[in-house]
Every structure is written in C-alpha cells, then in structure tokens.
Symmetry: C2
Subunit: 292 residues, 2 copies
C-alpha cells in the first residue's frame, strides 16, 4: 500500500526515514525543498499534496498546529478533495482535539476514515523510532493502521474515539508543565532558605515527590542547561490548545492558565527557544539567583 | 544512653515502639495517658517533660506544628530549662524551618545541640520503621545520632544546617500538592472531553508526565477512594509553613499559594480529613462529574 507523508519538519523527517526503513512505499511533501530532497535521497518519492491525496491509501500529516492541518486537509483544493472513499488520514500533529473532531466529521462525509495520533518523545525518539503514539479513532481503524505507527514508535496506545489522542496529549502536557513549575518553585524556596537544591533532589527523589520530570529536569536546572529538549514556544502552543479545548468542554483549568502565563512571560523575555525546564529562569529572575 | 520522646501521636507511638525494639532505654511523655500506657506496656518509662529534659542525653520531639514545639521546648518551665549542656534535641515534627532555626539558636546559648529531622512516609512507614528522615544540623551532630533515626527510618539524609530538614520537607510537600492538582486538572479535562481517564493514565504513565504521585494517586482518583493516606488538613499545615518560610526568605510561591487555596476550599467543604488526592473533588464539584 502506498503511504503519503505531508510535513517533513524536525519530527516528520526522521519519521519518514523510519517508514522507509520499514519498507513502506512512501511519497512525501513539504514546502521546504531541502527536506524533501533528503527524504528522496533516503528512498521516498516527491509528490504534491494533491497527488498524495489521490494516490495514497493512507495519508499521514505532521504539521505545526491546528490551523495548518485544517488548511492542508480542508482548505481550497485541500488533500481531502483528492482522497478516495475508504482511505485514511492519520494526523500525527499535536493539535486541538476539537479540530481533530471537526476534520474527522468533514472526512466522514466523503467516506474517509481518520485517526488523530500525536506523539510524545521529541526529536531523539523520532530518530530512534521510539516515539509514544496516543491515538484516537475507531478501534477497527486503529487496528488496521497500528503497524504503520509501530514503524515510528515504541508505544502505540488507543485512547478512544477521534480526538482522544490529542486530548491525552494535552493531559500529558498539562501535567508536565505544572510539574516543572512545582519543581522550580520548590527548589527556589530551598535555595533562598539556604539549602542546597542538589541535596533536596537527592533527599526527595525516591519519595512521593519523585517523578520523571524531576529525574530529567532537576539536573538541567542545577547545571543551568537550557538546551531543548522541548521548547517553551511549543509548550505554549500545546497549552493554548489545552485552554481552547477546556473552554469548549467546560473544564476548569486554573493551574494550566497560570503556568501558561509563566511560559508567555518567558517567551516575551527571549526564552521561547529554551527547554521548558527554563521555568526555573522565571524564579531566578524574580529572586536574582544566578543559579540553583 | 537514655533517650526521651515527647509526643505519642499517630506517628510518635509506632516510632517509640521501633526505638524500644532497637534496644534503646526510652522515656516517653504525652498529654494522652492511653498512648503513654501503650508505650509503657511496650517497655518505655513514663516521665514528665521536665524529667525527660533533665535525664536524657537525647530528647526527641514529634509534635503537631511549630507553636507546639516552641511551647514545649522554650515555654515557661520548658524542656530546654532542664536539658544539660552537651545534650541534643532532635525535633522530628514537620514545622516552619525558621522556627527550627529560632529554637536551635536559643538552645545553642545553653550548649545544647539540635537537629531538625522531619519525616515523610506516614503512619504505615512509621509502623514498619521505614520512614525517610530529612535532617538539618551540624554534620558531626548528625553523624553521632544517625543510628537513632535509623531505628525508625529506612533513609536518613543530611540536607544541611539546622532548618534544612524542614526546608527539604516543605519542598517535597509543595511538589506533591502541585502534582496532585496537575493530575486532577488533566484528568478532569480528559473526562470532560469524553476520554476515559483510565486510558489516559495507561497512555502517559510511562512518559515525561509519569510520577510517583500519578502511580499512587491516579488509581485512588479513578476508584473514588478518599481514605487517607495523608490528610488535606495536614497538607494545609505544611503549606502554611511553606508560605511563612517563603515570605521570610523572599521566595516567590504563587503556585503553592493557589493549591493551598484549593485545599482550604476543600477543608471548608468538609473534606479536611480526606486524602490529599481529594483535590480531584474540587474539580468534580466544579464540573458536576460524579466520578472520573
């Protein structure tokens, strides 16, 4: 079966290579010519979005955010116009789950199936093919396409109907952002009270306060390492989607709103490209601490 | 060497029994006669606070909060009046680290050493003798008394000078409270958006959002189990100390302040005795969800 992938950014490019490695017949499309050429050198065919829609039984998209997915799929002469009944869109972008549902409902009118399948793991796991896919859509459609996602990921979990993948991703991003801020706040208090945050880390990591965020981000905070990892600007995008989704469904998200404001403040102070653990900088700027 | 323990509450009583099991010559004191009788039946001697101060080279205290520790130690005819130069106070209560420092500085005038050594782990670990001690005080004083704490705990970590134990405990409590709220907020959003929180839990626990809080509290939230564990009212006490400490040292704690308000709201709605994972009830009340 022919597969098409639209979007060869930081994530999409290594994902394309893993699909090729797994033996899939892959057509690719991106506005960035050099990314397309790199994929072609690895064995892909270059195609237009319209060609991908017309020729591929499965269309994958890996795009920045909701508006791009909507425009590419449903815009004038969008991919949906060209896709055949019985074909499937798997959108791997991280977008507002309400938009996933909207796109799915448009595609359904044309007999096209859809899965929303955002990932967690970032560029290193995209390269290694060990991403975690959180997938929404019909069980039967999920089962039929699980193997394709498995070529790019170590974990492929079905979370419910269309939108459930992105909703799960938003829940993940809320927890990660809040945990980073909690860690930053606690470590700043310790430092200001004269206690070495490194000792605090050692004393509490094994208890109820322990977390993957603590294990991966406390050392970065302690070293003053702000290399992404996952950029603040991307986390801002995800939390905007979380807030939009929350407003649509009537869920209260006061903690998410406040951490988003911290991220926004950091963005407006030139830190948007730093790793999201740079929330510690917000606390350092408030306290004048040069380091933890 | 004779050891005295003042405070035989939920935590102090099993800790006394573990000291006796380890062979220490233990005198105990508490306003609650039946707790004293239980400790005496296990091998302890009953004594007044004054007798403990006069007779014991090491005085342990396990009391509710800063005012009680201050009153027992430094109040009129307090224990400090009776303690001899060269003796040591080990305060195992969870209190404001600023108060720990204040007490230590009064005791120092009389040649009495002090460690602040709050614990994490709760009643089950107090019974098993597997508490985690976070200890502040001089290294040499810590080394001399580590074995006593080892009779009650699985982990005994030196975190810095006096107050560092309680500061570390506050950092721990800030992180735990915020993580519980983040988990509650994320799961509520998922549920309101139509996704099964159990599937969200399964999909994200292995990734960056994973934490000990998630592993121990998500199942309680999903089952509607609010049995403590650790009561909201105790977490309120700890966060009040965190806020007091933060105000003293000039540390910004906006996230702690907001989770404290959530706890207070739950307290005023009759949930103070519930497990701290009952933050989920705040979200359930706002959304009308009967369960996760």
């Amino acid at each position: 079966m022919k597969i098409g992938l639209i979007g060869l950014g930081i994530m999409g490019k290594p994902m394309a290579k893993n699909l090729l490695k797994a033996g899939y017949d892959l057509a690719v499309s991106d506005l960035n010519r050099s990314a397309v050429e790199e994929a072609v050198a690895a064995g892909a065919k270059s195609a237009s979005n319209a060609e991908i829609g017309a020729d591929c039984g499965v269309v994958l998209t890996m795009l920045p955010n909701s508006p791009q997915v909507k425009a590419v799929m449903l815009g004038e002469d969008g991919v949906a116009v060209h896709m055949k009944p019985g074909s499937t869109l798997i959108d791997m972008s991280s977008i507002d789950p309400m938009v996933s549902k909207e796109i799915a409902s448009e595609l359904e009118k044309k007999g096209i199936e859809m899965l929303d399948a955002p990932v967690s793991g970032g560029e290193p796991k995209a390269i290694d093919g060990t991403l975690s896919f959180m997938v929404g859509g019909k069980r039967e459609v999920f089962d039929r396409h699980k193997e394709i996602l498995g070529a790019m990921g170590a974990s492929v979990v079905h979370c419910g109907g269309v939108g459930a993948g992105n909703t799960t991703k938003l829940a993940n991003q809320i927890i990660v952002a809040c945990n980073i801020q909690a860690l930053s706040e606690a470590m700043t208090l310790a430092k200001m009270a004269g206690v070495d945050p490194q000792l605090v880390f050692q004393a509490i990591r094994g208890g109820l306060a322990g977390s993957t965020v603590m294990e991966s981000k406390a050392p970065m905070m302690l070293e003053g390492n702000d290399r992404p990892g996952f950029k603040i600007d991307l986390h801002i995008k995800d939390l905007n989607n979380a807030l939009d989704c929350a407003h649509s469904v009537g869920a209260p998200v006061p903690m998410t709103a406040q951490v988003q404001e911290v991220f926004q403040w950091l963005h407006s102070h030139g830190c948007g490209g730093d790793d999201h653990s740079s929330i510690i900088k917000y606390y350092r700027m408030l306290t004048g601490l040069e380091s933890l």
